[in-house]
Structures are given as C-alpha cells and as structure tokens.
Symmetry: C2
Subunit: 181 residues, 2 copies
C-alpha cells in the first residue's frame, strides 16, 4: 500500500527541481502539476493543499542543501580567506539556485505564507551552522560573531548578485582584503 507514498516522493522531487529552477513566482498549482507530469487535480490527490505540497518540497530542498554543504566541507579557513571562497561558491551553478530561492523565500516570508517563513528560517540556520563549522578562529569566543558577520556579508553579496552588481561585489571583496592587511 506504499505505492502512493512512492509516487508522492517522486512528485516532491520534481517539484523541488522546479522550484529551484524557476523560483516561487512560477509556482501555481497548474504549473507545478505540469512540472510533475500530471494534472493539478492529481497533485491535490497526493497533497491536501498547495501549502502542504510546498512545505514538503521545501523540506526536501533544505535536505538537499545539507547534503551539498556536507559535500563541500573543507578544512577550516580564517575569515579573510573564507569570505572570497564563499563568494566563489555563490557562483557555483549547483549552489546558486538555493541562494536565489532562499532570497525569494525571505522576501515572501515577510508577508503571509507560513511555509515560506519556516523554510527560510531553516535554510538560514543550515547556512549559519555550516559557516560556523568551517570558520577558523584563533579564540573560540570569536567563532560565533565572526561566523555571523561572514554570513551577513555573504547574504549581502547574494542580494547584490541578484541585481547584477558584479563590480560592487568585487569592490566589497577588495574591501575585505584591505581590512585584514
């Protein structure tokens, strides 16, 4: 009797792909159904409503993100090295869709959508925890503050990236170098 459950999982995978590729603004039930290769009617057979579907897909996305960051784990780097490294990761076509989607979720979560807010917060935590683990510090009490600072800065760069502000990003990274000279 688990055939339904298997199908459900398959659908969730496809919806997650679609969300990462196209963002939340293309996420009407009919479009999502097309992406999953079925009718909207069937989507609502597997999921009680759109919100539950989105929640499931966003949870899968966060799980994928965890796996990906786990795979990208590297030896600890000190702040001035870590930041340009992260800026490079930001352009990685495997990671970039997560950042874009996350930006959209943050913006949406200011409003109503409960699923978006929860997902946005969870993705924030995932990124921050990873950043905390990968930062090399001289004294442990520096870890959390510097990780938070690196996180905030990278987010700012993500925002600039969404606005095609490449030169500003380069300038900011230049600023990091200057600061730690």
């Amino acid at each position: 009797m688990k055939k339904t459950e298997i199908k459900r999982q398959l659908v969730i995978e496809k919806i997650a792909d679609h969300l990462l590729a196209n963002g939340m603004k293309e996420a009407s039930l009919r479009r999502l159904a097309a992406a999953a290769g079925m009718s909207d009617r069937m989507l609502l057979h597997y999921f009680v409503n759109k919100d539950e579907l989105l929640t499931a897909a966003l949870i899968l996305i966060t799980e994928r993100l965890i796996v990906m960051l786990e795979g990208a784990r590297l030896e600890q780097l000190p702040y001035p090295i870590l930041l340009p490294h992260l800026a490079g990761m930001m352009k990685n076509p495997q990671i970039r869709p997560f950042l874009r989607l996350w930006l959209e979720l943050v913006s949406l979560s200011s409003g109503a959508e409960a699923a978006c807010h929860a997902a946005a917060q969870q993705i924030r935590d995932i990124f921050f925890d990873w950043m905390t683990a990968v930062l090399k510090v001289e004294r442990e009490e520096e870890r959390k503050p510097l990780a938070a600072l690196a996180f905030a800065t990278i987010e700012g760069l993500v925002l600039l990236d969404a606005l095609d502000s490449g030169s500003l990003i380069e300038s900011a990274l230049e600023g990091v170098k200057m600061q730690n000279r």
Copy 2:
C-alpha cells in the same frame, strides 16, 4: 488644464505611502485604487497601465529616500563605527519601510517586472553613494571597497532582520568589533 496633473501627483503620493506600508504583494490595482481613494477605473484614467503607475510611485519613493538620507547626513565615520550606526538606522521606523520594500523589489526583479528591476537598481545606487560619502577613510583608495563592503554587510543584516534574526545581527556586529580591535 493642469488639474489632472495635480491629481496625478496626489495619487502617486498615496500609492507610494501604500507601497511603503504594505509592500508589493498587496499591490493589485483594486487595492491601490482603494488606497488612493478612488476606483481602479480612475487609476487607469490617470495612468495608462499598472506598470506606469508603479514606476511613477517607485520613482517618488527613491526621491523620498534621497531626501531622507540627505537629512540623515552625518560627519564621516570610520568603518567600525559606521557599521553599528547603520544597523541602528536600519531599525528607524522612517527608514525601515524603504529597506523592506527594497528587499522585495530585489527579489521581484530577478523575474519579469521591469519597473521593479529599475527601481531596485536605483535604490541600490542611492544607498551606495550615500554610504560612500559618509565613510571616513585614511586613504582615498580605500573608500570605494570599504563602502561596498559596508553596503553588502548592511544588506545582509536587512535580510536577517526580515527573518526576525535579531540575535544573529547582534553577533555580526560583535564580529565587526572583534575584527577592528
């Protein structure tokens, strides 16, 4: 025969207020019309379509932002002082709506809406120019890179703020202090 033009300006003011107060997601023609105290039919009498209306309102908003930042001009501050100062400004109820709206515009501009993209880029430039002017540097070649870095960091804090991540913001500011000790 300028009565129409006067009315137009009045409408633009009210729409701008509404956008700052409620964001872009509540910006259907009918809602905007209610905010302007008229019917949607009349809105489309004064403006050829929704896009033109939004563009006009967003332009007014950027003008207001310029005036506000001009008023908030302060003597130049060095980076480690400027950043917490900006973080404080971020919570100012006069400025916060601009930041929230700007975040939403950036997210929207990744997609289609032309008006949003243009407005988002312009607001970015306004903030960055102001940041550049208000930063105190020891050598002039530091100005642009450090302003860009400060800008990116503040934007990251805006993002965190939209997610109710107050403690992360505090940590990040603590990180700034540590870095410049």
